[in-house]
């Protein structure tokens, strides 16, 4: 990348930072009822409560969950060299959903003061991570093809169990399960949000720091290896960190999948395929897009709410189709 190209790339990343920051400042003000700035600043009820406890946490959750899922999608597309890969391809998402469904069926509300569905989702994701890694490893070598096949198989098994539990659960719990499986962004406590933001930020930094390695790995394993990349180590790092990003986001939002597919493709087509630019932009724009869809979902059918995942798919799907037609 020449000096001019580098300056252009920095400008693009900066614009994405601005979009992310603007979303964080503006979107909490968007909702079915207007909020008074004065009352919010004085923390007067109900505006202060709605802004600080509901909309701000919800917007920040959407920003970082969307960012994590989008970065996870970019990462899995590079590691698996599959442009249709998403954070859900390798079964982590379905494992998390299965864990949450079990908890809903058991009727547990909290475990050690933490929402029980979060614990279930994280446990399910971790279990799938271990199963897929163990099954794909042979002679201390993990092939991406093995990961892909095992992930798809585990995905199917977990999906079948979810359907089984869904059909055996009573009406109330079936409704809770389907509500969770739609995926949505809801208000959360600042403690949970703080832990989530920390996990996503640290993992995202770790992933983005190795962007040059993802560039090489996305071409070919041999191509990467003969240019000095420790391929085995990088594949494991990619799978584990992608799974952490996915599991953390899904535990709090439910399975919102499309953002992990659409944003990497949009950024690749419109900004750059180079992972040094692609990854930070995908993180920032993925978060912005999910937060925007969540804000839209709050107002388009107010007082009813449209889940962010639904809004995202309705807007993003046609755009992706148009983009594919335009590029090809």
């Amino acid at each position: 990348m020449s000096g001019d190209d580098q300056a252009a790339a920095k400008r693009k990343v900066l614009l994405c930072v601005l979009a992310f920051g603007t979303a964080a400042i503006v979107l909490p003000w968007v909702g079915p009822g207007p909020l008074s700035l004065g009352r919010v600043l004085q923390k007067q009820s109900p505006d202060g409560f709605i802004f600080l406890q509901l909309r701000l946490t919800r917007t920040l959750l959407a920003l970082f969950a969307g960012g994590g899922l989008s970065l996870g999608g970019t990462l899995f597309q590079a590691v698996l060299r599959d442009s249709l890969a998403t954070p859900y391809t390798l079964g982590v998402s379905t494992g998390a959903s299965f864990g949450a469904v079990i908890i809903i069926c058991l009727g547990w509300q909290t475990i050690w003061g933490i929402p029980a569905t979060w614990v279930g989702a994280l446990a399910g994701a971790f279990l799938v991570l271990v199963v897929v890694m163990s099954a794909a490893a042979r002679n201390r070598h993990i092939s991406t093809f093995g990961l892909l096949l095992t992930g798809i198989a585990v995905n199917s098994v977990c999906s079948s169990f979810i359907l089984l539990f869904y059909s055996l659960a009573g009406v109330t719990r079936s409704f809770s399960i389907s509500r969770w499986l739609i995926g949505s962004v809801d208000a959360t406590s600042y403690t949970s949000l703080g832990v989530f933001v920390l996990v996503v930020t640290v993992t995202a930094y770790f992933v983005i720091a190795q962007a040059s390695g993802w560039n090489l790995l996305s071409v070919d394993e041999q191509w990467a290896a003969s240019r000095g990349v420790n391929v085995q180590s990088l594949v494991v790092k990619g799978y584990v960190s992608g799974s952490v990003l996915t599991a953390a986001a899904i535990a709090l939002t439910g399975p919102i999948g499309f953002v992990g597919l659409i944003v990497p493709h949009i950024v690749r087509a419109r900004i750059s395929s180079d992972h040094r630019i692609l990854m930070p932009c995908a993180f920032l724009l993925g978060g912005t897009l999910l937060a925007l869809c969540d804000a839209l979902g709050r107002v388009v059918l107010a007082p009813a709410e449209v889940p962010a995942g639904v809004t995202l798919a309705l807007l993003g799907g046609p755009y992706l189709v148009w983009l594919v037609r335009e590029r090809i």
């Binding site: 990348m1 020449s2 000096g3 580098q6 790339a9 060299r81 442009s83 040059s212 560039n215 090489l216 996305s218 071409v219 070919d220 041999q222 191509w223 290896a225 003969s226 240019r227 000095g228 990349v229 420790n230 690749r268 395929s273 180079d274 040094r276």
Partner: protein, 255 residues
């Protein structure tokens, strides 16, 4: 001069199938070696073992006298550049981005340094793909893609160039340019090993021929001698005959 590369009795087999058995040879900087053999003879496997993409089941490969297994990946990539037989054709990267990936071993900062950009530019100019630098890889023809991959290998600036069928997909003029380029690299003190099926290109440009057949290295001969001992041609095909071209150079004819 000490050999840069030394293969000591290396063997490789897949479960139930021997690919290579007890292959030994030495190679020095300044040599341009053609590695030949029929399809499935094990040429690419031999290349893979030299670049440590595969572990020999027996024997070892030494680079600068040190077993390959003792080299760190980043150190090895400074010494060896490898052109694989093929890569994905649907890559979204531009030509320039792909060539700059060859600079990964030299990278010291987040973005490419001016030295990286200059090395990539020279490599693209030498392989005639500078004019395509802004094009995406998936929009290129097979020959254009091959030239980009060659440029990426050149940009790596390694001492040992291991190129697996570098002239595949190239038009006749580009094939000649490719082998001329490798000859220049060898003259510059590098060791070049190219897998090829084009015997005349090998005879014209290479300094030494290795032929793999029946799992073994059966021919290891200087090109000058090969011109007078045509027996090695039998390992490649029974229909070949060594003659002389219009300019007096050896030329292989087929019946």
């Amino acid at each position: 001069m000490k050999p840069l590369l030394k293969a000591q009795g290396i063997s490789f087999s897949f479960p139930g199938r021997i690919v290579l058995e007890d292959v030994s040879f030495e190679a020095r900087e300044g040599e341009f070696i053609a590695l030949m053999g029929c399809n499935g003879a094990g040429k690419s496997t031999l290349m893979d073992m030299i670049v440590r993409l595969r572990e020999p089941s027996r024997g070892q490969v030494l680079l600068r006298g040190k077993p390959l297994s003792e080299w760190r990946s980043d150190q090895l990539s400074h010494e060896v550049s490898h052109l694989p037989q093929s890569v994905r054709t649907d890559l979204p990267y531009t030509v320039e981005q792909l060539v700059l990936m060859g600079r990964y071993p030299h990278r010291t900062s987040w973005f490419d340094s001016p030295e990286d950009v200059e090395a990539a530019k020279i490599a693209m100019q030498r392989t005639s793909c500078w004019q395509d630098r802004r094009r995406r890889f998936f929009t290129l023809s097979g020959g254009e893609r091959q030239r980009v991959l060659l440029a990426a290998c050149l940009a790596q600036q390694s001492r040992l160039l291991l190129w697996d069928e570098p002239s595949v997909f190239l038009d006749i003029d580009q094939q000649l340019s490719c082998f001329q380029l490798l000859k220049e690299e060898a003259a510059d003190g590098k060791l070049c090993i190219a897998v090829t099926h084009d015997i005349n290109l090998a005879l014209t440009y290479c300094s030494r021929l290795l032929v793999v057949s029946n799992h073994k290295l059966v021919v290891d001969i200087a090109t000058g001698e090969a011109r007078h001992q045509p027996g090695w041609l039998g390992f490649l095909s029974p229909r070949l005959e060594l003659g002389t071209g219009p300019n007096g150079n050896p030329w292989v004819w087929y019946q």
